[in-house]
Symmetry: C2
Subunit: 479 residues, 2 copies
């Protein structure tokens, strides 16, 4: 399955792959060791210890390594900068994990890594200790075989991803110089459900908010006061109905003004993705997709913003009937943003909309993440695709955008670098759930993919307009 490295990467990579193959049992065993250390950011368990562990690993590889404190959990940074003229890749990951609850649902304990049926079961196995540990082993393998790396590497590992990365943007803004890189690669998340590798070029942003309505100073009787006292639930219903119509069109004034439509290439690549509407409908028990009915699935998930009501609560919710006219209610919503919408601008437009339609409703801004998109024709596009193809042995699926929101914008918009998300974990990794796991095969292919990436980048010139030096099947490579 795994192609001979020489197909794409030349002799140097071939030797690295041989090293990985020869050490695979030891690599798995060392991952098990790493996974034994809890690092639960939400509960502040084990964070400092695991940051120290990583600092040691990077130092032993010859990286200049240090931890940067934040007002939350520390960021671990490592730098290897001995490949002048070659590009610099920033490898991003996070060393914190989700809480393991509910514990009773785990077949083997979350911090006692266990191998069953070719998978390593442990909290963090997929998300994302197994993935950045694969990157570390890829670096180690290059160094073991060649005594040097083919390109410059920055390693950025944060300890707060599972609590919303509250400090990463500020850190990147402050340390822009230290983080100067030609591209960013993140190994996180799952591959396609077919286990085909994917490369994600963009993510939608998010603007999450709450709308709060109040009327009387207390709940009143719907008979004695009904018809006289305003109802905050009706206020919110009528306000919401002015924000998105039943045909699925968001009708907040100016909402679509800043949207840049997808490029032809993005449309073409999106159309090629094996998105199976019938399967999604069957799996979720849906008779039809959301309005509008005629929009292709890829367009829905990549190129259109959304306005989702996450929750609506007000008044009586118990069994049977209660004749109450409630005095307060709230809705929680999130808008998924596409380029070039910004949370601030969207919040301002919602605020203006509310002022016109329901001025007494309070808007509470909850969370904002900018969208991010790396062009499909990025000068690093072919390098990254080639590396994934070489490491995984199969053509990757190209996602111009994915629906969920990650803080990729800190790399593309703050750092100004192209950013690629290249997941190594199997689609059924059960991240955030009991029995989280990574297939050993996926982990080892991840190590190979990391190694192939370094190799492929070593064949480029630096500074964002790399001239790709094609690999010579058996000969020497020009850098």
């Amino acid at each position: 399955m795994i192609p001979n490295a020489t197909d794409a990467g030349g002799a140097e990579l071939s030797k690295v792959f041989e090293h990985i193959d020869a050490n695979k049992d030891r690599f798995v065993s060392r991952l098990l060791d790493y996974l034994r250390h809890p690092s639960i950011s939400a509960h502040n368990i084990g964070i400092g210890e695991v940051a120290e562990l990583l600092l040691g690993m990077l130092s032993r590889l010859g990286f200049e390594a240090r931890t940067f404190p934040t007002s939350g959990h520390p960021i671990v940074m490592g730098r290897w900068a001995h490949a002048p003229g070659a590009p610099t890749v920033l490898l991003y990951g996070h060393y914190d994990v989700q809480p393991p609850d509910p514990l009773e649902a785990w077949i083997s304990p979350p911090f006692e890594p266990t191998i069953r049926d070719g998978r390593i079961y442990a909290r963090g196995a997929g998300d994302s200790k197994g993935q950045h540990f694969a990157q570390i082993l890829a670096i180690e393998s290059h160094l073991a075989v060649h005594g040097r790396l083919p390109c410059n590497v920055l390693f950025l590992l944060e300890g707060e991803e599972e609590t919303g990365s509250p400090h990463i943007a500020e850190f990147v803004r402050t340390h822009r110089d230290l983080l100067k890189a030609d591209l960013v690669v993140t190994a996180d998340g799952p591959m396609h459900e077919s286990d085909r590798p994917v490369i994600k070029y963009g993510v939608r942003g998010i603007a999450a908010f709450e709308l709060r309505a109040r009327a009387a100073n207390r709940d009143v009787h719907s008979g004695i006061f009904g018809g006289a006292v305003p109802n905050p639930i009706w206020t919110l219903v009528h306000l919401l109905a002015t924000m998105k119509n039943a045909a699925g069109k968001i009708t907040i004034d100016g909402f679509h003004d800043d949207i840049v439509p997808p490029t032809d290439l993005e449309r073409t690549m999106a159309a090629r993705l094996p998105l199976d509407v019938a399967n999604m409908k069957r799996e979720l028990g849906l008779a039809m997709l959301d309005a509008p009915a005629d929009r292709p699935l890829a367009d829905r998930l990549m190129f259109h913003p959304t306005l989702t009501i996450n929750g609506f609560h007000g008044g009586y919710g118990g069994p049977g009937s209660k004749t109450v006219l409630p005095h307060e209610a709230f809705v929680k919503c999130d808008v998924r943003l596409v380029e070039r919408q910004t949370p601030d601008d969207v919040f301002a437009k919602i605020e203006a909309h509310i002022k016109r339609h329901a001025p007494d409703v309070e808007l509470v801004r909850l969370e904002g993440i900018l969208p991010s998109k790396t062009p499909l024709d990025s000068p690093f596009s072919e390098v990254v695709q080639r590396a994934v193809r070489t490491g995984q042995g199969v053509e990757p699926l190209i996602y111009p955008v994915t629906g969920g929101s990650l803080p990729e914008y800190v790399f593309t918009k703050i750092l100004g670098a192209h950013s690629f998300v290249v997941p190594y974990a199997n689609a059924d990794e059960a991240n955030h759930a009991p029995n989280e796991n990574i297939k050993i095969d996926c982990f080892l292919k991840g190590v190979r993919t990391g190694a192939a990436l370094l190799d492929a980048l070593g064949r480029c010139k630096s500074s964002k307009a790399p001239i790709f030096a094609p690999a010579e099947p058996t000969g020497q490579t020009q850098i």
Copy 2:
């Protein structure tokens, strides 16, 4: 304050009032005894014992009395039918009480009746043991003074009013002959906040229902699936927005078809009521009343139906943001009905409306009570008003309709009798709340009012077209 009975009721009533005055301390003491017996229908506590108590009281007064079992709690019936040619009044009340929780909020325990500042504090003091006990004492006083009652009396006391009177309609339908009466009088609820007595001629009905929407078979991620998977909260928002518009108009097709507009007399009487919009706004902290803005308060509460959302629940309701796309949601609503809307017809119209606008939404019918209205020019109108004026010493306020829903229709629509609600309790009786109470003065005026009612009815001819025989200020009265 209390006028000499001879002003309106002649010598017979005057003597009954003297008896009441002479026995007032004993009457209060006996009410305290009665209130010591819990009768919590929702928890099935003390119901049988209190039904037996009432049976004994009515029997000792010379009533034919019995209890009728239902599939819930028993109904206590009493009949005194020894006034041939005089009308028959059906006195309705309920002997069950609300649960007393939260107990810690009571200054004195709910079933240890305590007098403070001229009020009797106990669960049931106002709602409605104190009120039907006043009727019993009115009867007792007539019998003590004259050895007979001026009219025929049926007493109907149910034990399930606080749990929605689930069996009263069936009971009245089955026992139509036994319950044959010229009019029904109910002493329940509060007087006006000024302590002025009121007579309620009608009540709005109710059609309570739940709307349930489901989309996927589980909650999904709003980023990964947002734009593709339908959102049941949006479905309900858009459906609700088609049922009532932001201007306050109910827009369910055919909803207003059966509504009979109020008569000129009803409008005139409603306009005379001291409904204080400014005070309501101040007391409830409202900047304005509900839409539409230009509707008089009396019209809102009496002559227009409502569509109130009692509760809306779906999705995330905790702190901060959660990027979930919920898979189910529900709203609870009640429609207050006016003549001649019926719950069945309104449910059918809502069902047809849903079929057109959101066919996957499920309608669950919860509760239906028909509206009820006794004409202001009822032949008993003057009799009842005169009795209240005589008993209370002040002109009653006439409510053509009140906003809340009571099962008055079982009397007006099933029994075909005119029905009058004549509350004896003070407006701040705190029914359904801790520290429920009745002012001793209100209780004793209630006894007088009950006595005045029997007296006034004794001056009428029977059979729904009474010829009122005006009282002679000092002389004998023709029956």
